[in-house]
């Protein structure tokens, strides 16, 4: 009897340990992959080298075939850009990849002489990975993702001569008055997700037949997700004040809210079952689960659509082609490129730097979207940019 209790307790303890390990993907077993990827020298894939034809010809540029070692980043003439990913891979067809493409663009256009990346495999390594670039004398370090914000700020404080670009990292110090918090070498590339969401909501409201649209979201612990949702609902109401919007956040925390496609799929089904015919999936893989579910309903003849998020998901989730009309995008690639260029030219904008947002192309649905819908979307985009349309989302005041 007593023994049973101990066994159960032990079971619980192990369960808790294993569960938390699952969530963070930080188990020792992740080590084999981290062993391969955590070192920048190893991570330097051949793809990082530019094609010879595109390579610029400044005297300092390395020949593409040369090993990265031969370029000395600590020399003042050599402009090096390093990128640290969030947990995940450089070719994730999402955040990491978009940011890396911005860095690659900098190299192709001759802004950067040497570029490299480190794939983070464990959230505990954020600071270490940034440190590796700093130790090697890199001039600009790009860190990708909300989660790296704190580590990046600490490093920016430690290395005032290196410029830091934090993708999706809101810079709190930039909006308070205390001067000693200022980090002149730190820029957060952030986005008006509410505006992208607004466009998605307007599109949804114009193509819905049932007058009910849904959103399946990651967690409200991440501010951009909230911005997407509020913008989406405001955009829908802008087109049709009586529209019914049903939105729901994932019940979990940061560790699983974006990696639970089953929940996303089931929730999308639940929304469709009660009449929603446009589903906005905004929550990483959780959202992707929703998109695929809607696509399989569309394939079986239901008149339903879905809208993706962050990047053009037509390219990232081919399973969703049957329903994917567009995606509410954050244009990370040009944003990163602009900031790298500004870092080199000396007018680095510290604080919060807003990148552009917009809707992805309609792809196969291009012919099915009426011209007046496209015109209306253009008009709204203009209104959002010049400030004549307000999304109504103003966090913190």
């Amino acid at each position: 009897m007593r023994k049973k209790i101990f066994v159960l307790l032990a079971l619980l303890v192990v369960a808790v340990v294993a569960l938390s390990a699952c969530g963070k993907q930080s188990t020792p077993t992740a080590a084999p992959s981290s062993g391969q990827q955590a070192q920048p020298t190893k991570a330097a894939q051949p793809t990082a080298a530019p094609k010879p034809t595109v390579a610029p010809t400044p005297t300092t540029a390395p020949k593409p075939t040369e090993a990265p070692k031969e370029v000395d980043c600590s020399s003042p003439d050599v402009f090096c850009v390093g990128l640290v990913t969030d947990v995940g891979q450089i070719d994730d067809k999402s955040f990491n990849q978009s940011a890396w493409e911005g860095v690659k663009m900098a190299k192709e256009k001759g802004v950067a002489d040497k570029i490299d990346y480190i794939e983070t495999t464990d959230a505990k390594d954020y600071a270490n990975n940034i440190q590796l670039f700093a130790d090697n004398g890199y001039d600009v370090i790009v860190t990708v993702g909300f989660a790296l914000g704190q580590a990046t700020n600490e490093m920016a404080k430690k290395y005032p001569n290196i410029k830091f670009i934090g993708v999706d990292q809101f810079q709190g110090w930039a909006i308070n008055d205390k001067k000693d918090d200022d980090l002149p070498n730190m820029a957060g590339l952030i986005f008006h997700e509410d505006q992208a969401g607004f466009l998605a909501g307007a599109l949804a409201a114009m193509i819905t037949k049932t007058n009910t649209i849904a959103a399946v979201l990651g967690t409200d612990l991440v501010p951009p997700v909230v911005a997407f949702k509020e913008g989406y609902e405001a955009g829908a109401r802008y087109i049709n004040p009586d529209i019914k919007t049903i939105s729901t956040y994932h019940p979990g925390g940061l560790e699983n809210a974006f990696t639970d496609p089953e929940w996303g799929a089931t929730t999308a089904k639940q929304a469709m079952d009660q009449g929603a015919d446009v589903v906005f999936g905004a929550g990483g893989k959780t959202g992707n689960g929703a998109l695929i579910e809607v696509a399989s309903a569309a394939k079986s003849g239901k008149q339903v659509y879905c809208i993706g998020v962050d990047t053009d998901q037509w390219l990232t989730v081919p399973e969703a082609h049957a329903c994917l009309v567009s995606s509410a995008m954050k244009l990370i690639t040009p944003g990163v490129f602009d900031l790298v260029q500004k870092a080199k030219s000396g007018d680095f904008p510290s604080g919060n730097y807003f990148g552009e947002t917009g809707l992805a192309p309609f792809h196969d649905f291009d012919s099915k979207i009426p011209q007046e819908v496209k015109d209306k979307l253009k008009e709204i985009r203009k209104g959002l940019l010049d400030g004549s349309i307000d999304t109504g989302y103003h966090p913190g005041g």
């Binding site: 077993t29 089953e262 929730t267 089904k269 992707n288 695929i292």
Partner: protein
């Protein structure tokens, strides 16, 4: 009419099933009430409930088959995850959904075999054996999964002819994809096998008192092996469900702790298939409700609060409402043959 005998029977019936009957009647009344008010939403929530319960009940069946034969399996999470991954991979490379599902089942069974080997033959601590499987699955899937693989479709709902047209019951029970149907059948099948066949009796004997069972000529090791492997196959089916029926894609860590919730479901269901099904439906219902309350928008308490309710309920129920949940007596103890 009320002869003392039938009265006594009634009393026994009440003592055994009273609480359950009351709960069922209340539940059905509530469903009927909401159905009369908002039929579409009621159907949507109940369909979602059933769907969310599938991996939980399959996992719980896996757990209870093992534990009824005294092998604790906390590797369900890992079995599901690896099975989900291989089911997905087979589907990606062959384009065949059925082969994918079979691969998932096979992987689950193989991991079951591994667990049985560790805990029955090697007599390793069963908790450690299960943990090994969990870590193995996370590592393997994390390492081998590549972004950019896409599955060829997913298992779609098959409406069962006129049955699917019945209001409320039709859309909820008779318009489901194949693994969901299979799961409902499996619940009753496992219940039947466990309580109405010689094999079930042997299983329970091995779980309660292996020495006695051994004395009567039952091969304790064989019973344990078979139960753990069959259980593994069920967990594998749950994995295939996740990647090929529920989502149609694979994602690292996509099981998200469902294998552990399945253990809670098993305990909540007092190590019986029907009880586990009821518990799984309750968990599924809580998740569906959590979504629905957000859809409705009238929610003024944090939605995480509703998500907490099934766990809270488990504690309350286990703490005395339905009575003590008693695991099989020999649960978790390796059997050492004398001689």
């Amino acid at each position: 009419m009320n002869t003392p005998a039938s009265f006594a029977n009634w009393k026994i019936f009440w003592k055994r099933w009273g609480v359950l009957t009351v709960i069922s009647v209340i539940t059905l009344a509530l469903i009927a009430y909401y159905y009369s008010k908002t039929p579409q939403i009621t159907e949507a929530v109940l369909a979602s409930t059933l769907r969310q319960s599938v991996p939980l009940v399959l996992g719980a069946l896996c757990g209870l088959l093992g534990e009824r034969a005294a092998v604790i399996n906390i590797g369900i999470e890992g079995q599901m995850l690896l099975a989900a991954f291989l089911a997905f991979l087979v589907n990606v490379y062959t384009g065949n959904l059925l082969l994918g599902v079979l691969a998932g089942i096979a992987v689950g069974a193989l991991l079951g075999l591994l667990l049985a080997f560790m805990s029955v033959t090697l007599k390793i601590d069963q908790i450690i054996g299960g943990t090994v499987i969990n870590i193995l699955a996370i590592g393997l899937t994390g390492y081998f999964y590549k972004v950019g693989l896409s599955a060829h479709g997913k298992l779609n709902p098959i409406p069962l002819g006129p049955l699917a047209k019945i209001p409320l019951i039709g859309p909820v029970f008779f318009n489901n994809p194949p693994i969901t149907y299979a799961t409902i059948l499996l619940v009753f099948l496992v219940h039947y096998v466990l309580f109405y066949t010689p094999w079930g009796l042997r299983t329970r004997a091995v779980g309660e008192h292996p020495r006695a069972a051994d004395t009567l000529g039952i091969n304790v090791y064989l019973v344990r092996y078979v139960n753990v492997v069959v259980g593994g196959a069920l967990a594998g089916l749950a994995g295939a469900y996740l990647s090929l029926e529920a989502v149609g894609s694979f994602e690292r860590l996509m099981t998200n702790g469902r294998g552990f919730v399945a253990l809670a479901v098993m305990i909540f269901g007092k190590w019986t298939p029907l009880g586990a099904w009821g518990a799984a439906l309750l968990f599924g219902f809580a998740t569906a409700m959590q979504t629905q309350l957000q859809f409705g928008g009238q929610l003024h308490i944090p939605h995480q609060f509703i998500g907490m309710l099934p766990y809270l309920l488990t504690i309350i129920v286990l703490a005395g409402f339905v009575g003590r949940a008693r695991p099989p007596a020999a649960d978790g103890i390796p059997y050492e043959k004398e001689g």
